[in-house]
Symmetry: none
Subunit: 210 residues, 4 copies
DNA sequence: CATGAATGAGTATTCATTCAT
DNA sequence: GATGAATGAATACTCATTCAT
């Protein structure tokens, strides 16, 4: 009655299959409209299995965000500590953001929305902490942009300004390029250049540099 | 179980009360987590009354968006046709956006999210049209920014660039200032100035204009 | 602010308009699916007006049945007391039934169904009595057929048999011809003849009458 | 909130329990007045369970009809293909009808009524097909009577007549005997004999066969 | 008398979650 | 570990009925 394990990945897979399916469904449907039923159908697994790995729907969602986020944050860190001219570093940074969000646009859009109202009614206590964790998932990456700008100011290439606001502005522009599908994996470099250009020099007609 | 009319406004009110309550609940909870029960509790009305005025939850939501949007679009139009220096007009425009979104931030955030997946299961019939209407609610305002930039280019004060992308970028920055609560009704002017400044001249240290 | 009464019938009409509309809606939708809203739309009157004339939906339905029934029962009575050969009288009777049910097929179908389960849960007391009234609406007409057959037996043209069962059988055949739309106002006579023939002589091949 | 399985039948039961309860409730209340709440109370099960087995109320109802109908139709078929004198076959047929409808009178009464107006508001899409399925549940059995009469005509024992009308008439008489509770499982044979007798020879006093 | 705005009890249906196998 | 049958709280929506005007 026992089947040979179909392949070596299978055991590791189960959990992964669920996460992959969850990614698809959450991205397509948003948090509320996503159902466990749809996820298990896609993951080709049983309902109980989901609850073996993840305590509940919310935890499944968080795990998804969290795991996808980890690698991204690592990438950002590496860029930050790299030695390269400020302008290059900025462009690299923007490209990293673009690449990540192009892959995760829909899920992060959902995250951004859900950040505001998880838990609600009965959820009582743990929820506000939970929500905080979600917010941190964003904050920590935007923080990188803040540091970057700070560095720019220290190097004298960025003018004194409210770096937090500026970082958020830059971040939102990047997101918008992705959400509006102006950016895709093929034009990342070009879009990054455009963003950087306008971010640095603005849209105003340049005075002649003579 | 029936109240005597409490005062003369009551008759005009009922529908308004519901819309006001709906605004609060949708803003706080998002579309899906908002319940009619919560809305009627807040509106101090009966469930049937809601359905007398609005065919269903979705129509209630749309009406809300639609009514709030109307005045805003009118304002934008007036600014657009006004005769004033480009820079002034831009700032006025940004301020109008800020003012509107400061009041409607949460509801519009919900709108932005829901735009993507309304209509449930089969998405059946009128839904795709419905969604389109929602999208238009945004498009039409961003369109204003596009026109503005176009005007700037024609006047030679804005450099040649992809105005659609630029408009979306500007829009997203405005939204972000509001969503992050950097902007409130008291500092609208200052924030508008900052946004306009960076949008035009960028964050780069300016070459000396001598 | 007062309009001249539009015409003399108007006052009498209101109630009649409602009954007419109710007839249509109940016939088309059955008791449960019929709504007061649909009735008033058709009757071109206000919701309150309905409740001025009829205490509730159920009473409206009953009134409808009751009024339509009255004339019919009168007709049957006249046929019963008329002096004419048994066979003629039977045919006249069948034709009267056919004519009435052709006009009222749908409503009576609803009645037949509702007879079984009015009132239900909370309705407590008055309901069983109510239901009884409905049943009488039928019984009294079938009773006529019973009397008729009795008369036939007394005259020696109908064989001894359970007249109640026979009357119900005859009744059901009449109804079926109507419900199946085999009968309409134009072929009433022919259908009546066929029914009478089979009812009297059966479907068996007749032994030669020599 | 969760019961241990009480005995081995339970697993097979759940679905059956629901169908049995549904039979009772639909029979007693009709389609509209029957509520899922009442069904689950009687079936001693959870609301969700019903929806695990049946997509909706309508499907539950249809399944009920459909399953009960199957065996009946099979029985009729067997009688039809059996070799026996026409009169015997007819009586057997009538008895089969009586037996089935005595057990299912109320439910079929509901079916007959609902056949006319299923599908609610827009009557949308699959509903007309649905209704057709219900109608077929009847048609197919009456069709048997038509075939039977046809056979009788071919054998020269039934006189030429409109077999469709005659079959409907016979059918309605059978139903009426059941509905009026003239027939019960104990007098099926006697009632069948009476029906057959009158159907064949009518109620008229027989001319002397000399 | 006629009206219709307001009401809320009642109902079908969904879906996260549990737990015996 | 994996599974899925069973569950019921939650929710949108309907519609008969009332009552102030």
């Amino acid at each position: 009655m026992r089947h040979y394990k179909e392949d070596a990945d299978d055991i590791k897979s189960k959990r992964q299959q669920i996460l992959t399916a969850a990614y698809t469904v959450f991205s397509r449907k948003g948090y509320y409209r996503a159902t466990i039923d749809e996820i298990i159908a896609l993951a080709d697994t049983g309902k109980g299995t989901v609850y073996n790995y993840f305590t509940n729907k919310e935890k499944l969602f968080y795990t998804l965000i969290s795991e996808r986020s980890r690698a991204f944050k690592e990438t950002l860190n590496q860029i930050m500590v790299s030695k390269q001219p400020f302008m290059e570093k900025t462009k690299a940074m923007i490209m990293a953001f673009l690449r990540f969000y192009i892959d995760n646009a829909d899920l992060w859009r959902v995250l951004m929305h859900e950040i505001r109202g998880f838990g609600g009614k009965g959820s009582g206590n743990l929820t506000e902490l939970q929500r905080e964790k979600y917010r941190d998932e964003f904050r920590s990456t935007i923080e990188m942009l803040v540091s970057l700008l700070q560095e720019g100011i220290e190097q004298g290439v960025v003018k004194e300004c409210d770096v937090t606001k500026a970082a958020h502005g830059l971040f939102s522009v990047i997101m918008t390029m992705v959400f509006q599908k102006f950016a895709d994996q093929d034009n990342v470099e070009e879009i990054a250049a455009t963003i950087a250009d306008i971010f640095f020099y603005g849209v105003a007609v340049q005075p002649k540099h003579n």
